[in-house]
């Protein structure tokens, strides 16, 4: 069965190299069709259906399999992913080529191949006896299947978009179609046609329409140019306000020309936001300054190129010498960074037209032309569109429709949109991931008890917010015989279920964190783990990682011990329940005494921490009261803080710090830690100035000084002032980040005033904690290490992804809150509320409405109104409008309403009610005055 043949390859890499490789061509590779007698036992579980009848194609009525070539796989993956397309043979040579050309497409194909329902079979033609080439393979398949059963007339159809390839195939007697022909022949699934990527066949269209853009240079020339310094490589970042302007962030560490401005459609030359491009600098006399004009792309047709040029002229007027910045033009694209974009269809004016423009939600992405027949159904829906290409003669890139998300303004659709736009991975877990979950019913076996302590006898309980299903921490406290106290923090042992390197691990690492939206949770690990097996629910045996301290009654740690364990939680309480138990004088059971002990210690710990200079900051946190039926927000409620909240928090902090010390001690080079850098003094300017205006002094030299001065900043007449100051202080802070101890020297956590810190206590919802668990497990000898864990560069890369995901998750959460706030005010209508001024800007006031924890901006300049007289004073932040002066922290009254003039970007609008300024503030009782306004605004722009 082994046929050995040797073939010779010659490659040139500097000199002549002769490479001789053996290649074993085999005859034991199965064709993948079930019931094929010829291949017999060679199949490892047949994949293709024996009678693929579900597809009715007018071109080929017999049952058939599909065999696509590389370009079809690369460009039409959206079609192939459709459930209607099944029984496809993917040649391994084709797959390899896809792998080399595009990693994301390769991944999608692999997911499809793993899906049993799709019946995709990978045929290893590379090693098969005689069919390395695609057409040969198709031919072999046809002959092979004929042998298998003559009456079946099972055929393989070769799908290629290359015309010559198709002609040759037909000459050789292989049924071949282009992807378009085939998809169109599927009369039962007309919706597939829209998902076809439209790749203009080169020769066809160049003569039609004039060429707008200059050609992109080939990659080899670009690389040469970059090496010689003629071109600069950078990331293209389009401007949000002005579609004719963009900035290129130049890579590398050359200090000059960090940013290059690109202006005008031709200079942008078809680059799209986030692409990596090569830029050529223009001569100095053509340099421009960034314009402050807001321009929106309104054009519908391509004929208005002249208008475009006019507009470009607008940009260039009125520029002083000094403002000029390096300006360039895009000469070529090094790497496209396209992703599918969310947005809405702008229906073409012509009724029968099939070409429509698509307006992405992200303003930095140009409009995309798509071809669809379902324009009328897609109108007013949020859809996803992928870009296929941007020909030189087209004003807009071409794309194709991928998916309909649903109605605009619909809660589920909008949630989907904000997840997609914040790049939160939220697809259901793939089959490969789910297959790694433990089989139910699951129980702890003898083998699991190795390296594990049995702590089931301890009186452990968990305290969490109401409705929490992913309980990842539990606590206990008991008195020891020597009079000391034993305190234990037990964290769900997620790393037991998620083994390094497998699909489940990779998926969780990619997700990085669980994202909590207002009414939805996007899990980092599958639900079976997050809400069941890992969740430390009461009265079931659960695996845990315990951190156990021996403390004296002054909360001084005498001994610290870490161990993997088995626990059995005696109760899962909410914060309120726990508080009630502590406060009630009648309850004296073991859980309650344990809670009381914990509470006592937590108070001492907190006091110590604050004395050390830990900050207590404040941010207006709001929870929505949801209607239980419709899940619409009906009321807002600010979070209540109980003693028990801080009790749990205190012990979590203590556990995190203890673990951080331990893993850093054990792995000084590759411990995953979390730091919070001290903000530069300039960050505090706003805070200090604001406090000064109220005759208070804020010291910001150290965290301790800041904490103390914030405590002292109190005003009897204005009790909310302290909270406002704390909110301001929060804004001054830096972002806390994960990092690898070997790559950094500054470990300090500013906010917590701890020299070292990490995340250990929430492995169900943060991936960083899983890594920390693994490190700690190795440190205590409970588990073994693996190469990636001890590679600091890999770890640093992981930290980068985790930081990015955390940031995105935060943004998504904020966006979700903003959307629900909109829904809330939509149902509520227009309301007037009291607010405090948080910041003063040159033309606006940023106000905070304590009742809703809502922050908003009140603008005083509107395009269609006469401009009021505004005088801004930077020293004492204040704004004088007409004759009224506004200071920071002033109390005002504002009107809140929903502005839905732009369907894609609905927002909350605020306008001033009190103090009254004639011509600017709005009367309290008028309604609907702003709703009709945007119409006129639009007209003005078009003039």
């Amino acid at each position: 069965m082994l046929k050995s043949r040797t073939f010779l390859k010659k490659t040139r890499a500097g000199g002549v190299m002769k490479i001789v490789r053996e290649h074993y061509l085999r005859d034991d590779i199965g064709c993948g069709a079930s019931g094929c007698a010829a291949c017999g036992s060679a199949h490892e579980g047949p994949v293709l259906e024996p009678q693929p009848l579900d597809r009715v194609s007018s071109l080929c009525p017999q049952p058939h399999y599909l065999l696509p070539d590389t370009n079809v796989l690369l460009h039409q993956i959206d079609v192939l992913e459709d459930p209607a397309i099944r029984n496809v043979i993917v040649l391994q040579t084709v797959l390899q080529e896809v792998r080399n050309r595009s990693a994301p497409v390769y991944k999608r194909i692999r997911d499809v191949t793993n899906n049993q329902e799709k019946h995709f079979y990978t045929f290893t033609n590379e090693h098969h006896r005689n069919d390395r080439a695609i057409r040969v393979a198709a031919k072999w398949y046809n002959e092979h299947l004929k042998k298998m059963s003559a009456e079946n007339q099972l055929r393989v159809i070769f799908i290629t978009n290359d015309r010559k390839n198709k002609e040759k195939a037909i000459e050789e007697g292989i049924p071949a179609f282009t992807c378009e022909e085939y998809v169109k022949s599927l009369t039962a699934n007309p919706e597939l046609i829209d998902r076809l990527a439209c790749l203009s066949e080169e020769g066809n269209e160049i003569d039609s329409g004039k060429i707008i853009f200059s050609e992109h240079l080939p990659l080899s020339k670009l690389q040469q140019g970059i090496k010689s310094g003629a071109y600069l490589q950078g990331t293209f970042r389009a401007s949000r306000e002005n579609y004719l302007e963009a900035i290129v962030w130049v890579h590398g560490d050359t200090e000059d020309n960090k940013e290059i401005i690109l202006q005008g459609l031709k200079n942008l030359n078809r680059a799209i936001h986030e692409d990596i491009v090569a830029v050529e600098l223009l001569p100095k006399n053509q340099w421009v300054a960034p314009s402050s004009v807001v321009l929106l792309d309104e054009g519908q047709n391509e004929d208005d190129m002249e208008k475009e040029e006019e507009r470009e002229c607008i940009l260039k007027t009125a520029v002083s010498e000094k403002m000029l910045k390096p300006t360039g033009r895009v000469v070529g694209i090094i790497r496209r960074n396209w992703r599918p974009y969310c947005g809405m269809l702008s229906k073409s004016g012509i009724k029968e037209s099939r070409r429509h423009l698509f307006t992405p939600a992200d303003k930095r992405i140009p409009r995309i032309r798509i071809e669809t027949r379902q324009a009328s159904t897609l109108e007013g829906q949020r859809i996803i569109v992928a870009i296929d290409g941007w020909p030189r003669n087209s004003r807009y890139p071409n794309g194709h429709f991928v998916k309909n998300l649903g109605e605009v303004g619909d809660k589920e659709t909008e949630t989907e949109v904000l997840l997609l736009e914040h790049d939160v991975p939220h697809q259901p877990f793939s089959q490969a991931v789910l297959s790694l979950l433990p089989k139910m019913p699951w129980s702890i076996t003898e083998k699991d008890m190795k390296n594990r302590e049995d702590l089931r006898h301890l009186c452990v309980c968990s305290v969490d917010p109401p409705g929490c299903t992913d309980i990842d921490d539990a606590l206990h406290c008991r008195e020891l015989e020597n009079g000391n106290l034993e305190v234990g923090v037990h964290i769900a042992d997620v790393s037991y279920f998620i083994r390094p390197g497998n699909a489940l691990d990779q998926e969780s690492a990619r997700r990085g964190t669980t994202v909590y939206l207002c009414e939805k949770r996007i899990d980092m690990v599958p639900e079976l783990l997050s809400s069941n097996l890992c969740s430390l629910r009461s009265n079931v045996d659960r695996l845990a990682f315990s951190c156990i301290w021996e403390m004296n009654h002054n909360a001084e740690i005498l001994k610290t011990r870490f161990t993997k364990s088995v626990i059995n939680s005696k109760a899962s309480l909410t914060y309120a329940e726990a508080q009630m138990r502590i406060d009630s004088s009648t309850m004296n059971d073991s859980i309650t005494t344990s809670l009381r002990g914990l509470n006592k210690l937590a108070k001492i710990l907190k006091k110590g921490r604050i004395e050390n200079g830990a900050l207590t900051l404040s941010s207006p946190e709001v929870r929505f009261h949801m209607d239980s039926e419709t899940h619409d927000p009906i009321d807002l409620q600010t979070k209540e803080l109980r003693e028990t909240n801080s009790m749990v928090e205190e012990f979590m902090l203590l556990a995190n710090i203890s673990v951080a010390k331990k893993i850093h001690e054990e792995f000084s080079e590759h411990a995953l830690l979390r730091k919070h850098p001290a903000p530069p003094p300039s960050n505090y300017e706003i805070l200090v100035k604001a406090a000064k205006s109220k005759n208070l002094e804020i010291k910001t030299d150290t965290a301790k000084a800041l904490a103390d001065s914030l405590d002292r900043a109190d005003s009897l007449t204005f009790p909310y002032l302290n909270t406002l100051l704390r909110i301001l202080a929060t804004r001054c802070m830096m972002q806390a980040v994960y990092f690898c101890s070997g790559m950094d020297t500054d470990f300090h956590h500013y906010g917590l005033a701890s020299p070292i810190y990490t995340h250990f206590t929430s492995p169900i919802r943060r991936y960083a904690d899983i890594i920390v668990h693994r490190l700690l497990a190795v440190a205590v000898g409970a588990d073994c290490t693996y190469p990636e864990l001890t590679d600091k560069h890999k770890l640093a890369e992981l930290c980068k992804n985790l930081n990015f995901r955390h940031k995105m998750a935060q943004y998504a959460q904020r966006a979700s809150v903003a959307f629900h706030t909109q829904l809330f005010f939509k149902s509520k209508g227009i309301v007037s509320e009291e607010a405090y001024i948080l910041f003063v800007r040159k033309n606006a006031l940023v106000v905070l409405i304590p009742k809703y924890g809502l922050e908003g901006t009140v603008f005083f300049e509107e395009k269609d109104k006469p401009k009021p007289r505004l005088t801004y004073d930077d020293e004492i932040p204040s704004l004088k409008i007409e004759d009224t002066v506004f200071h920071i922290f002033d109390k005002v009254k504002v009107k809140i309403m929903l502005d839905s003039s732009n369907l894609q970007h609905q927002k909350i609008r605020m306008s001033l009610v009190e103090p009254q300024i004639p011509g600017i503030s709005v009367p309290t009782d008028t309604s609907n005055m702003d709703i009709s306004e945007p119409e006129t605004k639009k007209k003005k722009l078009q003039k």
Partner: protein, 244 residues
């Protein structure tokens, strides 16, 4: 760009083999007339081994061992053995090390105590290197020692094994070696299952060692079956020539 995929999802290696399969092995014994024993083996790479002895100690007599024979191994590789043409002087670090390993291997297998105060020379030359050089040298030398009629405890059969994506690969080719994963070389006395030499200079987790070791051992046993066949055929041919 994606790197080289050493093991495809379908379980095939770069050159079309499955994980446990050996490369094609061809061998001949008695290729040189003037040597006491000689052999030629192709196992992806081609090695030639020559054995002289046992004979009297050459050079300094002080080296002679009172109770057993001295095994002297020399390894060399041809200038044209790899893709890049390169002069390979005798006595460089790599060939010294290889010579030492061969010596250790054969001191364990050859019944040296039968020939005290004498010397056995084993010269191995690699004509074409394509991965698993040590294994090929050991297998060639075994055949040559057998050809010379020097008594041994057993065949010494060697094979390499690597570890990719949780699967152990037997008999690594040059491409697989160059990819930089862990690589283990094992010389086995197949009938007793004793290990004559085991070498690995990369990091591999303890838990996976057993799996890789078993793959290498199985491959070595497969090599033994093949070599045994070659020896039997050679003996048969020789006996026909002698006219028995």
């Amino acid at each position: 760009m994606a790197g080289l995929e050493l093991l495809s999802d379908q379980g095939y290696r770069v050159d079309g083999r499955r994980a446990g399969e050996l490369r094609k092995i061809q061998a001949r014994m008695g290729v040189f007339a003037q040597a006491d024993g000689s052999a030629y083996i192709e196992q992806g790479n081609t090695a030639l081994a020559v054995v002289y002895g046992p004979h009297e100690i050459r050079g300094s007599r002080a080296r002679a061992l009172p109770d057993r024979a001295l095994v002297n191994c020399q390894y060399s590789s041809a200038t044209f053995s790899t893709g890049e043409r390169k002069r390979r002087p005798h006595g460089d670090r790599k060939s010294c090390e290889m010579g030492l390993q061969l010596r250790q291997t054969f001191e364990a297998a050859v019944l040296t105590q039968l020939h005290p105060r004498s010397q056995i020379d084993i010269y191995v030359q690699v004509l074409q290197a394509d991965g698993g050089t040590y294994a090929a040298c050991v297998n060639a030398a075994t055949l040559a020692v057998l050809d010379a009629g020097i008594p041994m405890r057993d065949f010494v059969c060697a094979c390499s094994a690597g570890f990719v994506d949780g699967t152990a690969l037997a008999d690594l080719s040059h491409v697989e070696e160059a990819a930089g994963g862990p690589q283990l070389a094992l010389a086995l006395l197949p009938s007793s299952g004793q290990i004559a030499l085991l070498e690995m200079d990369a990091r591999l987790h303890e838990d996976q060692l057993e799996q890789v070791l078993e793959a290498a051992a199985q491959a070595a046993r497969d090599v033994h079956t093949l070599l045994d066949r070659v020896v039997r055929q050679h003996v048969q041919e020789a006996s026909i020539l002698l006219g028995d």
